[in-house]
């Protein structure tokens, strides 16, 4: 079922000297429980799309149509953005606290998530005591705590080293699939995109348009780290590389 649709979305950044057209006529439709990845050259405005869906920035034109009322959005950033003075549990409860939805039920939900994803014994720990991968998991649980209908992931692994990145991608992917969430992930890493996505949207340089959309079809699709070894992986990689390369010049 379709969850949301971007229609002719455009965004201009205004400065004193000029008008910078970041997005131009972006059309994407997103189905429920789908994992969409947006790739594109850096600075092309892929993060802007998330900011607009998440209502952190205003659009210049076009429409965003949700097929449900009061849709809730959860955001995950490049950095984990954990508050260093709160322990893991309090960090996870932050969104609920702000929205004044701290109930016994919600608290138990957060605790069950922490337990399920191996952070139970760290409830009372502070962020600085955790590894980068664990921090990113806490950040995801904090986002899931508010029970969002759609997750917006803005290059959430770019601050991690390569190995952690692979394991955390697996973790995050697993959590998102198990909790049956819809997700839009932004990245400039083609391998990451192919290994995680149901659908890859390739964006062009600024002003950004949708260059191509790939349905990633693999036999025996599994965790991202397994998909990287899939025989179809290289095929998609070459295709997308070509799309991006073409537009760089």
């Amino acid at each position: 079922m379709q969850l949301l649709q971007l229609k002719e979305l455009s965004k201009n950044y205004l400065t004193k000297k000029q008008v910078i057209c970041a997005l131009k006529n972006i059309n994407i439709s997103i189905n429920e429980n789908e994992f969409i990845v947006l790739v594109g050259p850096s600075g092309c405005g892929k993060s802007t799309i998330l900011s607009i869906i998440g209502d952190l920035e205003k659009k210049s034109g076009g429409k965003i149509e949700f097929n449900k009322k009061n849709i809730k959005v959860g955001y995950m950033f490049q950095e984990d953005a954990l508050l260093p003075w709160l322990n893991v549990l309090d960090n996870c409860m932050l969104g609920l606290k702000i929205q004044k939805r701290v109930t016994e039920e919600n608290k138990n939900y957060v605790k069950s998530l922490l337990k399920k994803y191996g952070l139970e014994s760290f409830e009372k720990s502070y962020p600085k005591e955790l590894s980068g991968g664990m921090r990113q998991r806490v950040a995801l649980i904090r986002t899931l705590a508010t029970k969002p209908d759609i997750l917006l992931l803005d290059e959430p692994f770019s601050a991690l080293d390569y190995q952690t990145r692979i394991t955390v991608s697996d973790d995050v992917f697993k959590i998102i699939k198990e909790e049956e969430k819809t997700a839009i992930l932004v990245t400039h890493d083609i391998s990451e995109a192919i290994s995680m996505a149901d659908k890859v949207v390739v964006l062009s340089n600024r002003p950004s348009i949708v260059k191509k959309i790939y349905d990633i079809k693999m036999d025996k699709k599994g965790l991202p780290s397994e998909n990287r070894k899939n025989e179809k992986f290289n095929f998609y990689y070459k295709q997308i590389w070509k799309d991006l390369d073409h537009y760089e010049n």
Partner: protein, 264 residues
């Protein structure tokens, strides 16, 4: 066993080193005091102009006997605590207001800069005319000196709050008040404490300046009175007491800092 020995040696070395530092700190103090005493005893320096450690101690004892010692200290301490407290509260509230309204902060920016660089002591005479020749003038003077620097340093801290953390709260649809109390204020605890330290020394300057101008009691008065009757022992006693008072308050803030920082 061997590594254990190595560690013991290392710890011993650290302890020895810090003992050395303290030893020399004490030596410098003792040397200074004895040299001062000997030079004035031998008449090499004029003890009428430069006083001597013994004279200072005698002055303190006689002040204590006439029940004046703690009266003077208390008066000054009270003025400092009132202006320090007011300066901190007003400073933080005003900084919060500037953070709240970028428009107001832009409008007020040149005024804050001018008031900050203006030597507030020059306003002393007019303050005395407005607030009267009493404690109010002293407190006002100290407040004026400390509050502007508090406003500026705390506001700069507020403005430099991690943008990602603010965006995170915005993504939860937090309002401005929630962003302030949940992120901006707690992440600036260290900024606020370091501004307290500066604020404290500013307040001392303000209070003593005020006391020199108008007071009838207090350490500033003691210093001023001493110089008028050419009693240098009294002047130096006032300075010494002031030094002790500053250190006590400063260490109090360091203690609070340690307590607060421990939490995370």
């Amino acid at each position: 066993m061997k590594t254990n020995d190595e560690h013991k040696k290392y710890l011993k070395k650290i302890r020895l080193n810090s003992a050395k530092v303290i030893f020399f700190q004490i030596i410098i103090f003792v040397l200074f005091i004895t040299l001062w005493q000997i030079l004035s005893d031998k008449g090499i320096i004029n003890s009428f102009l430069c006083s001597s450690p013994k004279k200072v101690i005698n002055t303190i004892i006689s002040l204590w006997k006439s029940n004046d010692l703690f009266t003077h200290i208390w008066i000054t301490l009270k003025e400092i605590l009132i202006s320090f407290g007011l300066g901190t509260i007003i400073g933080i509230l005003f900084a919060a207001f500037l953070w709240w309204s970028p428009f107001a902060s832009k409008v007020l920016d040149p005024y804050l800069t001018i008031i900050n660089s203006l030597p507030k002591v020059s306003l002393g005479p007019i303050i005395i005319i407005w607030a009267g020749a009493n404690q109010n003038s002293i407190i006002l003077m100290a407040l004026l000196i400390s509050v502007i620097s508090t406003i500026i340093s705390v506001y700069v801290g507020f403005k430099q709050t991690n943008k990602i953390n603010i965006r995170l709260l915005q993504s939860f649809k937090a309002n401005k008040f929630q962003i302030f109390t949940k992120v901006v204020l707690p992440s600036n605890i260290n900024t606020i404490i370091s501004s307290l330290k500066i604020n404290l020394s500013m307040t001392f300057v303000g209070v003593i300046m005020g006391e020199l101008l108008v007071s009838k009691q207090g350490l500033g008065y003691l210093i001023n009175y001493g110089s008028q009757v050419f009693n240098t022992s009294l002047v130096i006693t006032g300075v010494v007491l002031l030094g002790i008072l500053t250190s006590v308050l400063y260490f109090l803030i360091l203690f609070i800092e340690k307590k607060l920082k421990k939490e995370w």
